[in-house]
């Protein structure tokens, strides 16, 4: 229990150290990509819970990220100022669900307040995850992978084909997300350091809550489901409900990432819903080690950052594909969990066995 908090404290210390290092090195512009990678990390850490603890795969988690992002993007960029007179609009405006923002032509636009939009986006992700999860989580292994892949493809096609959502261009002009203390999640350069801390603070909070969960009765039941589903049920674990709750929790976390990255980038495009993105999240979880939340966070931070800085060039997707192949071949439990000495001993034993056979 104390080691749980010690690890999270160490994580926070690293977050601070990285920020100080970018300042010392005069590379503060790195913080932009580091901030973005934090939001992708929220998706990965939720998926890590689903895959590593509940033992369920999802090849459609980018869809939940996109649902969060598109919902907040579409709602906050609405312009209802022409319908100010309508009773419902007036009521929502008075309840501060709607907010006035400057429009690009110097006028005023009336859209949904980012906080209300965020709540609506998370509710939407929650409902969709529930609706998809109930039928799909009855499936296992390959079948579950295929069904979630199908779901991801549907969401991708919908956002790509809906002109109201900007089709191939996506949603742009999304206003910053106001926070207490005059801060805002948005692309303003002055807020770069604050945004970095807000993003990684969210990751730290998610890490804290999920580590607590994993160490609790629920986490134990999830590991039991992973180990022997029928026996877990015989101990009183409502297997279907636990799988569904974990799926929904990971989907809402993904949507939170989508909401904040959309405000930070002032927009979102259909690529965020793509299958390649979903595969990328799975690759990150696989490297970090199934069942290691901190390993997933570390992997996601590094790989997402390198990818966003463009270090992988045109081979960006190929890098994640290759990572997935290599991890599955050499360490299905994840690289950070690889017991180097044990693996070496096993390899030596294999070689010896081979010689003996000869």
């Amino acid at each position: 229990m104390t080691s749980r908090y010690a690890r999270i404290a160490a994580f926070v210390a690293i977050v601070v150290a990285v920020q100080l290092a970018t300042r010392a090195a005069g590379k503060e512009f790195f913080l932009t990509q580091l901030t973005m990678s934090a939001y992708y990390t929220l998706v990965a850490v939720g998926l890590s819970l689903l895959m590593g603890y509940a033992g369920q795969i999802s090849l459609g988690h980018a869809a939940f990220f996109a649902i969060g992002g598109y919902a907040t993007g579409a709602l906050t960029t609405l312009d209802l100022s022409a319908r100010r007179g309508a009773p419902l609009v007036a009521l929502l405006a008075r309840a501060r669900v709607l907010a006035v923002r400057p429009d690009p032509y110097g006028g005023e636009a009336l859209g949904v307040h980012p906080w209300a939009a965020c709540a609506a986006a998370l509710l939407l992700a929650f409902v969709v995850a529930l609706a998809i999860g109930v039928p799909v989580l009855k499936l296992k292994g390959h079948y579950l992978a295929m069904a979630t892949l199908g779901f991801g493809t549907i969401v991708y096609s919908v956002v790509l084909g809906t002109s109201a959502l900007g089709a191939a261009d996506g949603v742009g002009g999304v206003p910053p997300f106001p926070l207490p203390g005059g801060l805002a999640v948005g692309g303003g350069r002055a807020d770069r350091v604050a945004n970095y801390y807000v993003a990684w603070g969210l990751v730290a909070l998610a890490l804290l809550l999920l580590s607590n969960l994993v160490g609790s009765r629920v986490g134990r039941a999830l590991r039991a489901i992973h180990g022997a589903e029928d026996a877990a049920a015989a101990m009183g674990v409502d297997v279907a409900r636990y799988k569904l709750a974990t799926f929904v929790l990971s989907a809402v976390l993904a949507a939170i990432g989508g909401v904040f990255l959309t405000h930070y980038n002032a927009g979102i495009g259909p690529g965020e819903a793509g299958v390649m993105k979903s595969v990328r999240y799975v690759a990150i979880v696989a490297v970090g080690g199934m069942g290691s939340l901190l390993g997933t966070v570390a992997t996601s931070a590094v790989l997402s950052f390198l990818s966003l800085r463009g270090y992988f060039g045109t081979l960006d997707d190929a890098v994640f594909g290759a990572v997935l192949v290599l991890v599955m071949l050499f360490s299905p439990e994840g690289i950070l969990r690889l017991d180097a000495r044990g693996a070496l001993a096993a390899a030596v034993a294999r070689l010896r066995g081979g010689e003996g056979a000869r």
């Binding site: 609790s216 009765r217 986490g219 877990a232 049920a233 009183g236």
Partner: protein
């Protein structure tokens, strides 16, 4: 007084096979009841009908007077029926202690939100769950195995962990599915002693078993199944003299 478990006219078919045919029996509180029969007699099917793994096509299963047939296994477990498995089903990647702690699931309540927030009452609950799990390991005589990876233990030790896991929920009815399967002579004797100790503690037991010796020693009453039908239901000594039972078992020996 209503019996703890009542099975009334229960039938189950798989395609053309009538696995269980109109079987009725009762388990009274505080007794050990055995369910025996040759291979393919329908013991496991009947066991699954009681534990909620399968629903009967006809008939009723009542626990404390309440019908439970067709309830899913986790609901049956929550009512106070706890089971072990013929083929050991321990949770891989977890220690013996953690395995046993899962057995306490139906008697504890911290959910997703309480778990994430790590609320103070959940710490107390966790401490209580751990203490009871250690007690159960003590009762089985294997406290030193608490931190061992459960699936790396010997077969007999795994059986003991499974029993601890089933007992930690303080079940009203303990269902044992062929507990002597794969055990050696000495371990089988230990198992018989354990069942006797459980009865002294007031635990009601329904044991499905192939090993006649174990059953005759530990049970108060024995139900004999043959081809899905009940052919005897009496005290062990009476069952041993039952002509139909002798025919079924000796007939098997002749064939072998």
């Amino acid at each position: 007084m209503t019996p703890l478990l009542e099975v009334r006219g229960v039938s189950k078919r798989f395609g053309g096979v009538h696995a269980v045919k109109d079987v009725s029996f009762e388990v009274r509180k505080g007794t050990v009841k055995a369910l025996i029969g040759p291979n393919g007699a329908g013991k496991t099917t009947l066991f699954n009908l009681v534990s909620g793994v399968a629903a009967p096509d006809a008939g009723e299963v009542r626990f404390r007077g309440e019908p439970i047939q067709g309830l899913p296994p986790h609901r049956v477990a929550a009512l106070g029926l706890s089971r072990t498995f013929q083929h050991i089903r321990l949770f891989a990647g977890m220690t013996a202690l953690e395995n046993v702690m899962v057995g306490r699931h139906s008697r504890s309540r911290a959910g997703f939100l309480a778990g994430m927030l790590h609320l103070p009452w959940t710490w107390r609950e966790e401490r209580d769950v751990e203490a009871r799990a250690r007690e159960a390991l003590d009762f089985l005589g294997i406290p030193e195995l608490a931190d061992a990876e459960a699936t790396s233990l010997s077969y007999g030790q795994q059986r003991a962990v499974e029993l601890a896991r089933a007992l930690v929920s303080e079940p009203e009815l303990l269902l044992l599915d062929e507990p002597a399967a794969g055990l050696n002579m000495r371990e089988t004797v230990e198992l018989a002693k354990l069942v006797a100790r459980l009865r002294e503690r007031g635990v009601t037991v329904l044991v499905v078993e192939h090993d006649m010796g174990l059953v005759m020693n530990v049970s108060d009453e024995v139900v004999v199944l043959s081809y899905g039908e009940k052919i005897a239901d009496a005290e062990p000594r009476a069952v041993q003299k039952h002509p139909e039972v002798i025919r079924v078992y000796l007939g098997e020996e002749d064939a072998a």
